[in-house]
Every structure is written in structure tokens, then in C-alpha cells.
């Protein structure tokens, strides 16, 4: 009875031990430390006058998210290298992937610290009336965008790194993925009018900003879509990413995982549709000219 109990507990204990080690490895990784330092440095300057800290979401998204892609791809590679060097290991690749997934708590916590600063800065240096929020755009809406584009981006980047580490374990794959991610993000951030409505399928996009109108190139606009549903969509995407990374393990049955992936994928599609069709369905224009 006791032996059975111990055997049943062993995988959990192994996962907990590995997770603790991976959390520490993430915390000590130079790329995380540099990214976190750059994010902190960006908080030392007074935020934009028209949008306050709401326009500073790019700092944690790049400093924790993009750097996180590199960190997680590197941790995954080194985890595999350690397993290969050890020969036959009792810990499966799936358990190691799950342990790496647990390390996501580090960028999430760092993102939350940034979010706390952003909320404080938003109230300490309120945005000018020419900026956002304005009209029907509430403070809660602004907080939701900050959470989505700051905290969830800080987690989303490392999830992409985990997927790359598992499915494309080639040198150069992670930095090239970083550049591709930047390219996709800029294209889908709402600058290009034909893409504005469907931009929410992308993992990072603006909701408010100085997108401009005819005659006032910096006029503040609030684009279509719901930041609340968009947040749910991003959480579903992150879950999908972790499950997809776990799917790489060919030694265990993948039926359950495939079923879970299908369900999470379907949920993500539903949330994405709700994000696109929810919230304001017309671009809102700040009645005040930008003055720039």
C-alpha cells in the first residue's frame, strides 16, 4: 500500500523538483536579467503625456516577452542536452516540458510587478484629454489593455520560446523567430487600416493610440474589439502553446493531449471571435485634436 502510494507520488515529486530548478534557471538566465533590467529602466522615465503608462506596454512585451522567447528556447535546449548527457533518464520529455511551463511563473510575476507600476503611474501622471481614455473608453478598459499587452505578452513570449525549443531545436531558430514576431506585431498593431478589424488574431496589438486621421496625423483613436475577450484569447493561446510543446514527446500516448489541444484550440477561436466582435465596433475618434 505504502509502496503504491510512493510510486504514485514519484512523478509529482519529480515534477516539483524539476519545476523548482527551472524556475531558478529562468531567474538566473542572463537574457531574463538583461530584459528585466531594460524593462525597469523604461519605467524610470516619465510616461507619455497623452497616454500615460498605457502606451508603455511595449516595454514589458519586448523586455520580458521577446527576451523570454530566447530564455525559454535556451532552457529547453539545455534541459534536453542535460537529459541526453545523462543517458537513460527516468523523467520523460513531457514532464520536463511541464516543468519548463511551471517556470512561466517568473515572467508572469515580473509582468505583474510592471503592471502594478503601470497602474500607479497611470493614476500618478493622468493622461491628457487629447489622449486616452476618452468618451466611452473607461479606466477599466485601459487597465485591461495594459494587462493583455504587458503581463500576458510577458508570458506569451516564453511560451513561443518553449514551442520553438521543442519543435525547432536548431541554432538560430529563436532569434529569427524574435524578428519574425516583431515584424508580424508591427504589421498587425493597427497601423494598416485594412487589417484593423482582424488585427486581434495577432498575439499583440494596440487598442488605443495616436493612429491619426486625415489632417491630424497623431489624433487619438480607439480601435474596434474587446480587450477583455482578447485577454481570454491570449490565455487560451498560451495554454495551447504549452500543450503543443508537450505534444513533442513521442514516447507516451498523445490521444489525451490531442483531444485537449482540440478543445483549447476551439476555445481560442471562440474567444478570438468574441474579442473581434465585442467592444466598440467602430473606430472611436477623440474629439480633441492631438496638438502635435
Amino acid at each position: 500500500m505504502s509502496a503504491i502510494h510512493t510510486e504514485r507520488r514519484q512523478p509529482d515529486a519529480r515534477l516539483a523538483t524539476l519545476a523548482r530548478k527551472d524556475i531558478l534557471r529562468y531567474l538566473r538566465h542572463p537574457a531574463f536579467l538583461i530584459g528585466a533590467a531594460l524593462t525597469v529602466a523604461s519605467c524610470l522615465f516619465r510616461p507619455d503625456e497623452q497616454f500615460s503608462s498605457a502606451l508603455q506596454v511595449i516595454a514589458p512585451a519586448a523586455g520580458l516577452g521577446l527576451f523570454g522567447m530566447i530564455v525559454m528556447a535556451s532552457l529547453t535546449r539545455s534541459s534536453d542536452a542535460a537529459a541526453a548527457a545523462a543517458g537513460t533518464v527516468s523523467t520523460s520529455q513531457r514532464t520536463r516540458t511541464l516543468a519548463l511551463g511551471c517556470a512561466l511563473v517568473v515572467p508572469f510575476a515580473a509582468g505583474l510587478v510592471w503592471f502594478a507600476w503601470a497602474v500607479w503611474a497611470y493614476n500618478h501622471w493622468p493622461a491628457a484629454p487629447q489622449g486616452a481614455p476618452f468618451g466611452d473608453i473607461s479606466d477599466t478598459y485601459m487597465y485591461a489593455t495594459m494587462f493583455d499587452l504587458g503581463v500576458l505578452a510577458a508570458v506569451g513570449g516564453p511560451v513561443v520560446g518553449l514551442v520553438i525549443g521543442r519543435w525547432l531545436p536548431r541554432r538560430g531558430a529563436a532569434p529569427i523567430a524574435v524578428v519574425v514576431m516583431v515584424l508580424v506585431t508591427i504589421v498587425m498593431q493597427g497601423i494598416f487600416e485594412p487589417l484593423r478589424y482582424l488585427r486581434l488574431v495577432a498575439p499583440w496589438t494596440y487598442f488605443v493610440g495616436p493612429f491619426g486621421t486625415d489632417g491630424d496625423g497623431d489624433r487619438t483613436l480607439a480601435l474596434t474589439g474587446s480587450p477583455y475577450w482578447y485577454g481570454a484569447y491570449l490565455v487560451a493561446l498560451c495554454t495551447f502553446g504549452v500543450l503543443f510543446a508537450m505534444l513533442r514527446d513521442e514516447e507516451h500516448s498523445r490521444h489525451g493531449l490531442k483531444r485537449a489541444l482540440a478543445v483549447v484550440g476551439l476555445v481560442a477561436v471562440v474567444f478570438c471571435t468574441l474579442a473581434i466582435t465585442g467592444g466598440p465596433q467602430e473606430v472611436l475618434v477623440n474629439p480633441l485634436p492631438s496638438g502635435r
Binding site: 542572463p30 537574457a31 538583461i34 530584459g35 531594460l38 529602466a41 523604461s42 522615465f45 511595449i58 516595454a59 519586448a62 523586455g63 521577446l66 527576451f67 522567447m69 530566447i70 528556447a73 535556451s74 541554432r171 538560430g172 529563436a174 532569434p175 529569427i176 524574435v178 524578428v179 516583431v182 515584424l183 508591427i186 497601423i191 494598416f192
Partner: protein, 206 residues
């Protein structure tokens, strides 16, 4: 030397990186006002591609062969030449969209290339087999961060744009920064290569 370069340089990775630089700068050429952060990313990719040229996965074997590091560095520089040519060509093609600062943009890429070559050679001289393993990804993501977030752009205008007024960064300061980096990199490169020769001579005299 050519045969060594053919086998030692990761040409496929270099081809992917130079292709990416071409794509990034072409996008910047088409939409300079909106896609300018990609110019910083392109500089980062140039530096990373240069770093990859100097990786020596078989250092344990190669480092004890009669060929000195200076010879191997010269052979591997053929890969760097490809990157430099690609960068020069893309800047030339995109010059009409670079806000009359094509020479400054070119300088950024060449300075990054020199700095990366200097760093990699210095690390190789110090015994590190694959200097790009830890640094190539980091340099790309740092360049992407600086291009996107532009932290402290008034003090450290790494990637200015437009006419450099307001919050666009100052081209003159940027020029000084990149030229200084290039100068330091050249000195570093010479020192690293010279170091190895002294070490070799010391070794042969023993």
C-alpha cells in the same frame, strides 16, 4: 583557405540571416514611417550572423592544429564578407527611404558587424568554442528592444529616424556612438588577433 571556409562557415544559417536582412530592409524601404523598428532588428541580425561565422564547434581538435587563429579568422571572414555585402546592398537599395541618412544607417550595420567580429575573435582567443551560442540571440533581441522601445532615445539614440527632431533621436549623436563602437571594435579585433600570435610564439618557444 577556401576549402576550410566552405566547410567551417554555417552558410545555410548565414543565407537565412542575410535573406531576413533583405526582407526587413525591403519592408523598411516600402513603409519607412511605420516599419522603422525593423531597421534596428536588421542591424541586430547582421551582428548575429557575423557572430555565427566564428563559431568553432570542433575547437578541441581545431585549436591544436598548426593553423593559427588569425588564419582561421581570415578564412571565416568570407562569411562576414557575404553579410557585409548583403548589408551594403540593402542599404543602397533602400537609400531613398532612409530619410537622407543612408550613410548613417550603413555605418550602424558595419559597426555592429565589426563589434561582433571583434567580440567573437576575442572570445575564441580566450578559448570559447562557440561564442555565438550565448551572444547571437541576445544581440538580436537587444537590438529589437532598442528599435521598438527606444529607451533613453535622447541620451542614447541608437536607431534614430526621420529628421531626428523631437522624440526621433539625434542622428549626429548616433553617428558618434556608432563610429566610436566601430573604432573600439577595430582596436579590439587587432588586439585579439595579436594576442593569439603572441601566445603562439610563446608556445613555440617553449
Amino acid at each position: 583557405m577556401l576549402r576550410y571556409a566552405f566547410r567551417a562557415v554555417p552558410w545555410w544559417r548565414l543565407a537565412a540571416a542575410t535573406g531576413l536582412v533583405l526582407v526587413l530592409m525591403e519592408v523598411v524601404r516600402r513603409w519607412p514611417w511605420t516599419m522603422w523598428p525593423l531597421q534596428g532588428c536588421a542591424v541586430g541580425v547582421v551582428a548575429a550572423a557575423t557572430l555565427w561565422c566564428f563559431d568553432e564547434p570542433s575547437a578541441d581538435i581545431v585549436d591544436v592544429t598548426p593553423r593559427p587563429l588569425a588564419w582561421r579568422t581570415a578564412a571565416r571572414a568570407s562569411g562576414v564578407l557575404l553579410v557585409a555585402l548583403a548589408w551594403g546592398a540593402t542599404v543602397l537599395l533602400a537609400r531613398s527611404s532612409l530619410f537622407d541618412h543612408a550613410s548613417d544607417v550603413a555605418l550602424q550595420g558595419f559597426a555592429a558587424l565589426l563589434a561582433a567580429a571583434s567580440f567573437a575573435t576575442w572570445r575564441r582567443a580566450g578559448g570559447t568554442a562557440v561564442p555565438a551560442r550565448a551572444s547571437a540571440a541576445l544581440v538580436v533581441v537587444v537590438a529589437a528592444f532598442c528599435g521598438l522601445v527606444r529607451p533613453g532615445f535622447d541620451l542614447l539614440p541608437l536607431f534614430p529616424y526621420a529628421d531626428g527632431s523631437g522624440n526621433a533621436g539625434d542622428w549626429a549623436t548616433s553617428r558618434v556612438l556608432w563610429a566610436s563602437l566601430a573604432g573600439v571594435a577595430v582596436v579590439g579585433l587587432m588586439t585579439a588577433l595579436a594576442d593569439v600570435r603572441w601566445w603562439r610564439w610563446g608556445g613555440s618557444q617553449m
